[in-house]
């Protein structure tokens, strides 16, 4: 399993978590990442507007030559962006699991302030153990 990077966006499109797990994507400054997240938030909203069929949601999978990005939006509006290699299978399962870890180690942490950047060491630890297990 090769997951390049994970980002989490809050309801307002603010980047609250970004972390690379494998080499493959450029290292951007935190400001660039914030801009990127804001742009994506807008694009995501538009993609459901330009749908040729009735009742489409926003962007779910984006493919490029070098990577594949899955966007999982929760019912509460939080977005999980998972960047993986182009032919990585079962990304939706991975999204679910990351969401579960978020619900456990971020939302149940009494020191986390909602909608603010995530600085939870237990979340980092478990995410790392899941996405980059030690061989």
């Amino acid at each position: 399993m090769v997951i390049l990077s994970v980002m989490i966006l809050n309801k307002a499109g603010g980047l609250i978590y970004q972390r690379d797990f494998h080499e493959g994507l450029h290292k951007l400054s935190s400001n660039d990442f914030l801009v990127l997240a804001g742009t994506f938030h807008g694009v995501h909203a538009i993609t459901s507007r330009i749908s040729p069929v009735h009742g489409s949601g926003g962007l779910e999978v984006l493919e490029s030559e070098n990577f594949r990005m899955q966007c999982f939006q929760t019912l509460t509006g939080t977005k999980f962006l998972i960047f993986a290699e182009p032919h990585q299978p079962n990304i939706d399962v991975i999204c679910r699991r990351v969401y579960e870890l978020y619900a456990d180690y971020v939302m149940k942490n009494p020191f986390y302030q909602i909608e603010m950047p995530i600085r939870c060491e237990a979340f980092d630890r478990h995410l790392m153990a899941y996405l980059k297990p030690k061989q």
Binding site: D104, Y105, K108, N109, P110, F111, Y112, R119, C120, E121, A122, F123, R125
Partner: protein, 239 residues
């Protein structure tokens, strides 16, 4: 067993209170019981069977389990509530300790009651520590404690080790207050059990992370001098 609704809040849960000797000053509640039922008993909520949870046998919920998630949310709120009303880390740990303390006091009573005839009053330090590491821990967390050690340099200090305290499962302490360990709550429970068994002690929780167990916590138990004196006497009295 009588099915009459309780007439006063002092009605004991046991169907046959006479079989419990040694209940101190049993006359006082009885004299109250003879008075007309106080209003407070009417405010208790009864199920359709006219029996409240207070009428249930205490052993009934012995193996009952609790959702870890709901505990995590409740505990989180407790910490946030306490955090708004304290000036520092020590203050916060003290608040958590006090919250745990009142639980421990009641818990000791319940566990001894449940042990039934085999229950005994511990008189030795090792005995009471084993009771905590085994019975109390199993009841609270469904596992025994991971270790029990005696301090090398101080006679009055013992260490109870937990590799991953259940209460801390979802908690990441921010770097600014990294000294805080929310297991102070459990330390309060342990302290109350010790105090209740007449082993007055001071219990504190300390984080001692290792690579394998990043959440490893040591409960430092510091007994009062009187406990050690008694222990020495009991040890000396033996052949």
């Amino acid at each position: 067993m009588s099915l009459q609704p309780p007439t006063s809040p002092f009605v004991p849960f046991s169907p046959n209170p006479a079989l419990q000797p040694g209940t101190p000053s049993s006359t006082t509640p009885l004299s109250i019981a003879q008075k007309p039922p106080p209003v407070s008993s009417a405010s208790l909520r009864y199920a359709s069977t006219r029996r409240s949870i207070y009428d249930r046998n205490l052993n009934r919920t012995q193996r009952a389990e609790l959702s870890k998630a709901s505990f995590a949310f409740l505990f989180g709120e407790m910490i946030q509530y306490a955090q708004k009303r304290v000036s520092g880390i020590q203050d916060l740990e003290k608040k958590l300790n006090i919250q745990g303390y009142s639980i421990g006091q009641r818990l000791l009573e319940l566990l001894l009651f449940r042990e039934g005839r085999s229950a005994k009053r511990e008189t030795r330090i090792l005995g009471i520590l084993q009771f905590i590491a085994q019975t109390v821990y199993r009841h609270l967390f469904n596992k025994p404690a991971d270790g029990l050690e005696r301090s090398h340099d101080k006679d009055d200090e013992y260490m109870l080790i937990d590799h991953e305290p259940v209460v801390n499962t979802y908690i990441s302490v921010p770097k600014e207050i990294s000294l805080l360990n929310c297991a102070a709550f459990v330390a309060g429970i342990i302290e109350a059990v010790l105090d209740g068994s007449l082993f007055p002690a001071r219990v504190t929780a300390h984080s001692t992370p290792t690579d394998q167990y990043p959440g490893r916590t040591v409960y430092l138990i510091k007994f009062e001098e009187s406990v050690l004196e008694r222990e020495a006497m009991l040890a000396g009295g033996k052949p």
